[in-house]
């Protein structure tokens, strides 16, 4: 059974299109849902939570129909919202236990489980504090605790590292990776931070303007990266650049003062730069590898599909 199967799902808010003909088949695993603001990630999450019906199309999550089985599928899912979503006046343990009860756990078991999960997430000492006294990092872990309290098979995580400092972010990503790798939880990580996806996920879905632009293994996406070099040249570059283009290279940046950034095709040999420079009487004063990062790749994928990124 697949984790998520979507079949031509579209969603309109009046005349505004939020999702357009989205078809996905995702196996259980750690999945990153990437996209800029307004890409349709939140709408997709709402549909996956069974809280919003698609305008057309349909699908299943863990075999539960998105249109009919809202209650059942929300029980199988733990949802960590981006916003604080806290209940003022409660203490940490009460908050997580309340989440357990709302998932349908008997009260006593919910309380016991809340303490277990809070200990696992390193919030044991803070569990009797009022929620208002929690730091941002602790609030994020608390939200993860309430999503985890009923031991769901799937976690939907909406920007889980939002507002965290680098250390807090690393803790959160480690936790997610452990939950996915060692405890078999499927994760759907909705984020605009490519680093988070690269660190945690094995599959990535890129959404833009309500459409799936790209879907595949994170490693596959990485292989689509361009090998880039930063060059510092002296002399007339026009013939040299023309020759580079003929060899299949792409000049990304040229500051007209001899500094270039060049993407090269697979199998490129560094010595080609020197050979061509020698041929066209250009002095190559600097050569540094400067590969495209995942973020640049993400924006390039968007542009290649004829859209404009953020």
């Amino acid at each position: 059974m697949g984790l998520i199967d979507l079949d031509h799902v579209s969603r309109w808010y009046g005349s505004q299109r939020a999702l357009c003909d989205v078809s996905l088949h995702l196996e259980p695993g750690r999945i990153g849902l990437l996209g800029p603001n307004g890409a349709g990630k939140s709408t997709l999450l709402k549909i996956l939570l069974g809280l919003l019906e698609p305008s057309s199309g349909g699908g299943t999550i863990l075999g539960h129909d998105l249109r009919r089985d809202g209650t059942l599928l929300r029980r199988a899912i733990g949802y960590m919202p981006e916003a604080d979503a806290l209940v003022p006046g409660l203490r940490g343990a009460d908050y997580v236990a309340l989440a357990g009860e709302l998932y349908g756990m008997p009260r006593r078991q919910a309380r016991r489980r809340a303490h277990e999960v809070l200990s696992y997430l390193d919030l044991e000492e803070a569990r009797y504090r009022l929620l208002e006294e929690y730091s941002t990092g602790m609030k994020q872990r608390l939200k993860l605790a309430q999503a985890l309290v009923h031991d769901p098979r799937v976690l939907l995580l909406d920007e889980p590292t939002s507002g965290l400092d680098p250390a807090g972010r690393e803790v959160m990503l480690s936790l997610l990776l452990t939950l996915g790798r060692e405890h078999g939880k499927s994760l759907l990580l909705s984020t605009h931070l490519l680093g988070d996806v690269e660190r945690v996920c094995d599959t990535v879905v890129i959404l833009h303007e309500g459409q799936v632009l790209s879907q595949g293994h994170v490693d596959d996406l990485r292989t689509r990266r361009h090998d880039c070099y930063r060059l510092q040249i002296q002399g007339d570059p026009s013939a040299y650049l023309e020759e580079l283009r003929l060899e299949g290279a792409t000049v990304f940046q040229d500051n007209r003062r001899g500094q270039l950034r060049v993407a090269v095709p697979p199998g490129w040999r560094t010595r080609t730069f020197f050979a061509l420079a020698d041929l066209h009487g250009v002095l190559l004063r600097g050569l540094q590898r400067d590969d495209e990062d995942l973020e640049a790749l993400f924006h390039r994928v968007i542009e290649e599909n004829g859209h404009h990124g953020r």
Partner: protein
């Protein structure tokens, strides 16, 4: 201690029906309000009328045991209307009105306004429950407050009167007990739905208190002025919701419509229709307000 040193333990158990989630929602709401000292202060104030009726009944019963002229006793009972009749309970409900309004304004902002203001709504609705369960949970919490201030003390007065006079009172006036419960239900339904709708709309305590006060004090004065000073049709009194509940409550307690003061008053069925329409409008608004659009921002 880092996560790597602690072991994640799976949970295997049976989930209960989503209907069970109504009580945790109500319980948490009640807990949040009951922890406030301000609430207890207001509740103590609200019980002053109850204490007045309670000790009034007690003193009259005590006076019965003394050798006072029967005429004085009759006049005391009649004047104070502490005679165990429907009018006594009607007067009690009416006097409780102002404190109920104040306590509910405070409770409403904490019970539901906080959920909108602090973003707790996604926490609730992303669970395997429907908006209906959420609303019923909140309704239950407000209903507890309404009944703590009205129905429960009124039933306590009913029990006290029966104990101080004769046990026959319980059997002969069982319809009064039912009437008290019915009056309480009318108040519970109208005030709870109205409060939830307004708390969902206004979210913050001060605007809620202002709007609530406008609804129950300003409109009351306006209705009074329109009908009794400017001579407009009696139906203008229908904009005074507290008077509407009062008219329906009179019917519940078996009090004749013609004896209700001041006159003129709209018909009871008209008041009931207005209350029904208000409840329906509140339910519709709440349903729209907590749709899934609110869940993921």
């Amino acid at each position: 201690m880092g996560a790597s040193l602690l072991h994640y333990r799976p949970w295997r158990g049976r989930f209960r029906d989503p209907a069970w989630s109504v009580w945790p929602i109500a319980r948490v709401g009640l807990g949040v309000v009951l922890r406030r000292k301000l609430f207890w202060g207001l509740y103590a104030l609200a019980l002053l009328f109850f204490l007045m009726f309670f000790f009034g009944q007690y003193l009259l019963a005590y006076a019965d045991t003394m050798e006072l002229p029967p005429l004085i006793l009759r006049q005391a009972r009649g004047g104070l209307q502490l005679d165990g009749s429907g009018v006594m309970y009607r007067n009690f409900f009416r006097l409780q009105g102002s404190m109920v309004v104040v306590v509910l304004a405070l409770a409403g902002s904490m019970l539901m306004g906080n959920d909108f203001q602090f973003g707790s709504l996604p926490f609730y609705l992303a669970k395997p429950l429907t908006p209906r369960h959420y609303l019923v949970g909140k309704f239950l919490a407000v209903a507890v407050f309404v009944n703590l201030l009205t129905t429960v003390p009124a039933l306590a007065l009913f029990a006290q009167y029966g104990l101080l006079t004769s046990s026959d009172y319980f059997f002969e006036h069982a319809d009064l007990a039912a009437g008290i419960v019915a009056y309480g239900l009318v108040l519970t339904a109208c005030l709870s739905l109205l409060l939830l709708a307004m708390a969902g709309w206004l979210r913050r305590t001060i605007p809620l208190i202002m709007a609530w006060t406008t609804l129950f004090f300003f409109l009351r004065q306006l209705a009074f002025a329109l009908v009794y000073i400017l001579g407009y049709d009696a139906r203008w009194r229908l904009i005074d919701l507290w008077n509407d509940t009062y008219l329906v409550g009179n019917a519940c307690l078996g009090i004749e419509h013609g004896t209700v003061r001041p006159l003129p008053q709209p018909e009871t069925y008209e008041a009931a229709l207005v209350l029904g329409a208000v409840c329906l409008a509140c339910l519709t608004y709440l349903n729209l307000r907590i749709r899934a659009v609110e869940i993921v921002r």
